[in-house]
Symmetry: D2
Subunit: 308 residues, 4 copies
């Protein structure tokens, strides 16, 4: 069952292979230039910091549907241990086991492949078992600090959250852009708010994952036209689920990660940011969102922060 012609047509239009050289492993994060970062810093007005990561805990967002993607098992290895004798300073230490994409995370460009290829045309089998993507592991991502733009699609439509299964279209993105009085520019990291994470925050982990609003297969071209550096949202699936086209699963993943070389973020909590942006009517800010640099990893946790 090959991917449909429609997919390949879009892929051709958004493909970035070779754009930053045959050796590039970083993709659209190359668009974050020093100039972009300076402009991002200039967006800071109040100094207010808003964290966007979900707490990492055993009852996190994973409901067991994605094999091997386990919520953090957080355990203790020392508790108030007087390592140097009775009455001395006592130490506590802990450890964790988790799926690298279990919580708020970035997908590495290697998280998906199609037709045997990953970003920049490299062979998919360059990913091997010992936790190792030979190319475009998450450690190859540039340090993600840039201008962040919130496209608050739900709020722009006057909704608390988009209904499950709503495909966020380019028109929706443009509507949110206009609502926010902001223009998406080259090098921006775009945060698309659907409000779906409220379902998880209310305790319904299964409902959070499915059905889910998310990006339409038509949005990669919109991001491509604006030279966006990266996109994140507040869902488990990132793209709309179930998918828009029968039997075409994860097309947005394949277009962003493989064709464009654009990193994606999932499970970002954009609720407090939404409120703050609405209060100030400003939808651009400084965003710092550097993934944990696991060598060769196909994804990594991140603790993003918006500075308004």
């Amino acid at each position: 069952m090959a991917l449909p012609a429609e997919f390949h047509e879009i892929a051709e239009r958004v493909n970035n292979w070779g754009r930053w050289g045959a050796d590039d492993e970083t993709g659209t994060l190359n668009l974050i230039t020093d100039e972009v970062v300076r402009a991002a810093a200039a967006e800071v007005r109040t100094g207010r910091r808003i964290p966007l990561a979900l707490p990492l805990k055993e009852d996190g967002v994973q409901a067991g549907l994605i094999p091997g993607r386990t919520n953090p098992l957080h355990t203790m290895v020392q508790i108030n241990q007087e390592l140097f004798g009775p009455g001395t300073v006592a130490c506590s230490d802990d450890a964790v086991t988790m799926g690298l994409q279990a919580g708020t995370h970035w997908d590495a460009l290697t998280h998906v492949s199609h037709s045997g290829r990953i970003y920049n045309g490299r062979p998919a089998d360059s990913i091997t078992a010992h936790g190792r993507a030979a190319f475009s592991g998450i450690d190859k991502a540039a340090p993600v600090v840039s201008r962040g733009v919130l496209l608050d699609v739900a709020r722009a439509k006057g909704l608390d959250r988009l209904p499950g299964g709503h495909a966020v279209t380019p028109e929706d993105l443009a509507e949110a852009e206009e609502y926010g009085g902001v223009s998406v520019r080259a090098g921006d990291v775009v945060l698309v708010r659907t409000g779906q994470i409220q379902v998880y925050l209310a305790g319904d982990r299964n409902g959070y994952g499915f059905p889910s609003p998310g990006l339409s297969v038509r949005t990669p071209e919109w991001f491509h036209a604006r030279d966006v550096a990266a996109v994140a949202n507040d869902t488990l699936t990132f793209e709309v689920f179930p998918p828009e086209i029968e039997n075409l699963w994860l097309p947005v993943h394949a277009l962003h990660l493989v064709e464009m070389g654009m990193h994606q973020g999932q499970n970002w909590n954009l609720e407090a940011l939404s409120t703050a942006c609405a209060e100030t009517s400003r939808y651009a800010f400084l965003l710092a969102a550097v993934p944990e640099p696991f060598v060769g990893a196909v994804g990594a946790p991140v603790a993003p922060v918006a500075v308004l």
Copy 2:
């Protein structure tokens, strides 16, 4: 074997218990005000970003000396798996097990206790086995974005790195401050460079840990007087090892974490930052260093970035 009188005298002078209220769990990170953050953003001149985290990998800095603090074991749970049928988009997923303080990290205020107490006078036994500090877990840290200041003690002395066992004194810090033409201010995150991480980078994990230069027991008063928000350096032990006073182990940990409520960072790679600051003769910058928010954790990995 009780802690010596000398320790308790310093402790009394730097103690911050109750300063931000009896319920406070955040400590000196309260000193990062919105005003401080605005000033931090204003430090950005070139837009150059310098990541400060070590790559996370199985042959990381841990050499097996600290029980249970294990380097990342990074494993695959899916490799190019065509979850939705042959020829479809294929997924790769990975997982990790690691000590939360194995790599570049922040100590939570609960990482050490003494005399049965943690920061703000709470009982040490509020830390229990299921990965849980009831108070002052790392998830209680404010999002760390502030002005960063590099005190390049090694470079100020004309050395590549300080010798093993060198105790960094308040005089050393003042010397580096003057060398950098910068004044440490309230709310700053201070990065103290010893150059010790070169030992690890050269492949000697045992030599990296011991003997190690690090902070003297006299430095907490210096940080306290300047109302520093947090301190990080480029060593495994943070403070000088072996210790300056016989049988007084980890006094700096106890003074910073328990008495002052000041978070500490270890294993930060400050080499590239040192070069960049020297080139521009500017030692202040925007620093983003938000710890991964593991609920109740006594430490957490962080991927800090300096923006110059």
Copy 3:
């Protein structure tokens, strides 16, 4: 809320503290003498081996109700890796993270404490965070090879399985003993079949755990009178759940593990054994069930086998 007088009265009658010396860490497994083992070997008639462990897998019996007791996360670290060059012999290697009591397991004597004490009167706080029971860790269990006796309570009552919440009484045990034509003797390992594991095998993990048939608080005296070496059954909770006496949780655990020093096994699959014993009308056999010797562990997986 102290434990009720009724509990303490039974405890006094079954207590084995000091019976095998003040230093003993093994408890009733001391009752497996060489003579008992010889007699066990003599029970082998057909040579048929029946494994009693559940398969270890990510969708195992744990449904998330017991914090930190996670099903196995089984991951690959090498797949057909030609470590010594192209065309050479290729290696595959794997790793696991799991709760030690997640599947078919033995409780160590340290799995529970009450009134601040563990077996043989030692202090409960001898269990510390670095995976370490200083006394009576599972590695202190004698190698469990003995005569096994199946008390097929469900079959003796003509039932496929006991109803949820059925408390297995001493009378039920005696009935099953008579049904099987077998007499429980000193040093035996007794397997009590309720049939409850069928609920899990049918795919209902939540129903498997609750409500559950299991041992009554009155059974420890029965086992004590017969000098049984250990007891295992085919439930998650081992004892009846919800409990028989309001607000008296896990009394059987406390009596067996703390008072008697008798190891307990849970999640044993006794279905095939039940059929085999019924076919041959013989309910005694050689049982080998050596726990994995994790040092200081409070429980461990076991792969028991009955040889008929």
Copy 4:
């Protein structure tokens, strides 16, 4: 670099593909018939039980040389937790992360492949990332209870242990057989003692692994001729290391696992067994060594016990 002709010639002579049917996943463990098991039980004379597993702990045999094969990280998730309220029975629970072949273990038939094939001619790529050998995972091993025979090669030669790099030959095995007054028979599990584990027990983990005595490439034919069910020894590498033939790595693994379908055991502690057999001049016994049934695993821990 293809495998040499010499390897392929031996492979042809010992190959068992198809012997137990095209669908077989169990290999030579099929040779353990009920009759063999009955005879094994009849070997029990004294009832003495000797455990053969190394304790599982963080400072186990792995010295970091085999990527991803990590010693057990044993952590606590509950310590004396009064889950049901103050004064109630308190629970302790623990968890582990480990390489499945880190300690005393069985290799599954899928642990190695060569020329793209595993046992019974199946494709090597039937092993995939989510901890899954589709065929011949360790859960497909028959429950290993059989007659065990100790071939005490070191003692037969009057040595404490064989020198590092000694290749145990068929002649050595025959010598030990004669020394023990025992004849290896079809269905036996043969334990070959080199004494090498003393190096680990004395604290030298690196020396334990290399150089190591171990089986010669000539021994598979000896085991094949006798229809041995499985072989285990007291080394990390199983076969002699460095190898006998330049650039031919792991030939014994490939012959046993791939060609013969014979499970191998490593890191078995045969020291106490050696003493006991010498005392009684009996080298055959009942052996129970059922691997933990991890589904699709390429290896698994085992806690073997010999009953004399």
